[in-house]
């Protein structure tokens, strides 16, 4: 049981930052929306329909982003592998598909980047390519699982800016999971905070407060604001920073969990 009694609704064109410690169910929630995780009770509804596998209305960027770090293939070929990649038969890169790929690359400014080989671009550049891949098929909802992981602050900013632009230009809803709120704090419309099997959705100022987070975690949580930055502390420990540290030893995990209530996305 990862999530229980979680119920919330996300509007069209909304940029949601999903926060929470490791194992709080961020990935599970995304996988549930993709129909990959069975829900033991309640329902997950995406764009008015029950969650099913292979929903083309959802763009997804998994946390485990693939096994091509040693490949010299071009970014274009990697992105293109997702264009109709679930269909049987031989790959067909017809003019319409190529136009679609170019459009997706242009949306994140990666047209030139895609000509280079995967092992010679930086982590931030790779993230941009994979973000463009998630746009193939013109989804209405974008699920980005920890796109800021292991990026330096400059690249973090550029990824968040691209996500903002995608929301504004394409009017799509984005759920963007992260360990730390601060890189997202000015970009997101609302924050979805997961903890202790529960979730709270609301404006940053409403959710990231001592009382709300203390109720969520069932322990004393303090929120400290220093200028523009927010720190969430449990006792003496910085909750978000601690969660971030854990991540490097558990790069790949599947937290298969269940939800009791519905998440209406």
């Amino acid at each position: 049981m990862i999530l229980a009694a979680v119920s919330f609704a996300i509007e069209d064109g909304e940029f949601i930052g999903m926060l929470g410690a490791n194992g709080s169910g961020k990935t599970t929630l995304m996988r549930a929306a993709l129909g990959l995780v069975p829900v033991s009770g309640g329902a997950v509804s995406v764009l008015g329909r029950p969650a099913t596998r292979g929903n083309s209305a959802i763009g997804y960027m998994p946390q485990n982003r693939g096994s091509f770090s040693n490949l010299r293939l071009t970014g274009y070929d990697i992105v293109a592998s997702a264009a109709g990649g679930a269909a049987w038969g031989l790959p067909r890169l017809d003019a319409a598909t190529r136009r679609e790929i170019d459009w997706a690359l242009d949306m994140v400014g990666a047209r030139d980047l895609a000509r280079r080989s995967l092992n010679e671009i930086s982590g931030g550049e790779r993230q941009r390519l994979l973000l463009s891949q998630a746009l193939l098929g013109r989804p209405k909802l974008l699920l980005l699982d920890e796109p800021l992981i292991s990026l330096d602050p400059a690249h973090q900013r550029s990824v968040v800016e691209i996500a903002e632009r995608l929301r504004d230009e394409l009017k799509i809803a984005i759920i963007f999971s992260a360990h730390e709120l601060n890189p997202l704090i000015h970009a997101i419309d609302r924050v979805l905070y997961l903890g202790a099997g529960k979730a709270v959705l609301g404006a940053v100022d409403e959710v990231i407060t001592g009382p709300v987070l203390s109720r969520l975690y069932g322990t004393e949580i303090e929120v400290i604001r220093v200028k523009e930055r927010v720190f969430v502390m449990a006792g003496d420990v910085d909750v978000e920073r601690d969660a971030h540290r854990h991540d490097h030893d558990g790069g790949h995990r599947h937290d298969h969990g269940h939800q009791d209530h519905g998440a209406h996305v």
């Binding site: 083309s56 091509f68 071009t74 990649g85 049987w88 092992n119």
Partner: protein, 289 residues
């Protein structure tokens, strides 16, 4: 095999190599197998499952020796056994490439059983050498037809799954989310690999399957950065290495399998060198460890 080469030595002065029936058959067989191995092997390398391919070839040894013991053609035992093993491996799971201990144990066990079967037909010692190191010049017309049919069927099957296979190989989680049945694709692919491995074993033997399945594909992935160009190059390299090996063996009287492994190794290690040719795209890429 030695007998065949001695014959060549005696008459090669008077006749070019294509005057001999067994050379023509050998070239045809090596060509079919090399094309299949180059294409299927490419995806094996792309998926990081080369060790699984190696293990399948050892299972093939058991199948082939077992088949001979029961008076069946070795190719039937090879294909039957490896396809079954490929099916089992596919069902075991997606993360197969990480299970090197399990695969390694299976590999030893298979070779052990192969040895036991060999023990029962000691009169066929040359057959064992042919299975381990290949005997392309021993391929008869009937075997050639079998190789051709199996290769065509494998390539058709591969063509049917290649699109989700590429997607799943590069980004399995995303592919799963987009509705690719990962386990089915992986299992079907390993069964295709099993056929390709069995065919390779006919040419270079079960111990040297890597040389045609993995060598050309790994080199191709270093020579070009485009996916489909790499598939074509892998097949072309495998073909050149197989035919080159046959030709060199004809004129040198050294074993065919030796020459194929030598050429394959040469091409692979050449691909590791960072060629700095001005104006050549791939040459500008810095090699990152």
């Amino acid at each position: 095999m030695t007998a065949a080469i001695v014959t060549i030595m005696a008459i090669r002065i008077t006749a070019p190599m294509f005057d001999y029936d067994f050379m023509r058959t050998g070239f045809a067989a090596a060509g079919i197998v090399a094309l299949l191995a180059g294409v299927v092997g490419f995806f094996l390398v792309l998926r990081g499952q080369t060790f699984a391919g190696h293990a399948l070839s050892h299972v093939g040894f058991t199948g082939a020796t077992g088949a001979v013991l029961f008076g069946l053609p070795p190719l039937a035992g090879l294909v039957g056994f490896t396809v079954l093993a490929g099916f089992a491996m596919g069902l075991l799971g997606e993360k197969l490439s990480e299970r090197d201990v399990a695969i390694g144990m299976m590999l030893s066990l298979a070779l052990g059983f192969g040895l036991l079967f060999l023990h029962f037909f000691t009169s066929y010692a040359s057959q064992a050498a042919a299975l381990l190191f290949g005997n392309v010049l021993g391929v008869d017309n009937q075997a050639l037809v079998s190789l051709a049919i199996l290769a065509v069927l494998s390539l058709i099957a591969l063509g049917a799954i290649v699109r989700p296979l590429i997607f799943a190989s590069l980004q399995s989680e995303l592919a799963e989310a987009k509705g690719v049945p990962l386990r089915f694709v992986s299992t079907a692919f390993l069964m295709i690999v099993a056929v390709a491995v069995s065919e390779c074993a006919q040419i270079v033997g079960v111990l040297l399957v890597f040389t045609l399945m993995v060598g050309p594909a790994a080199a191709a992935l270093r020579f070009t950065r485009r996916l489909y160009a790499a598939v074509a190059l892998s097949a072309a390299l495998a073909l050149a290495e197989a035919w080159g090996g046959l030709t060199l063996a004809f004129y040198s009287d050294w074993p065919v399998s030796f020459w194929i492994t030598a050429l394959s190794g040469l091409v692979y290690f050449a691909s590791l060198v960072n060629w700095r040719v001005p104006g050549h795209g791939a040459a500008q890429a810095p090699t990152q460890p």
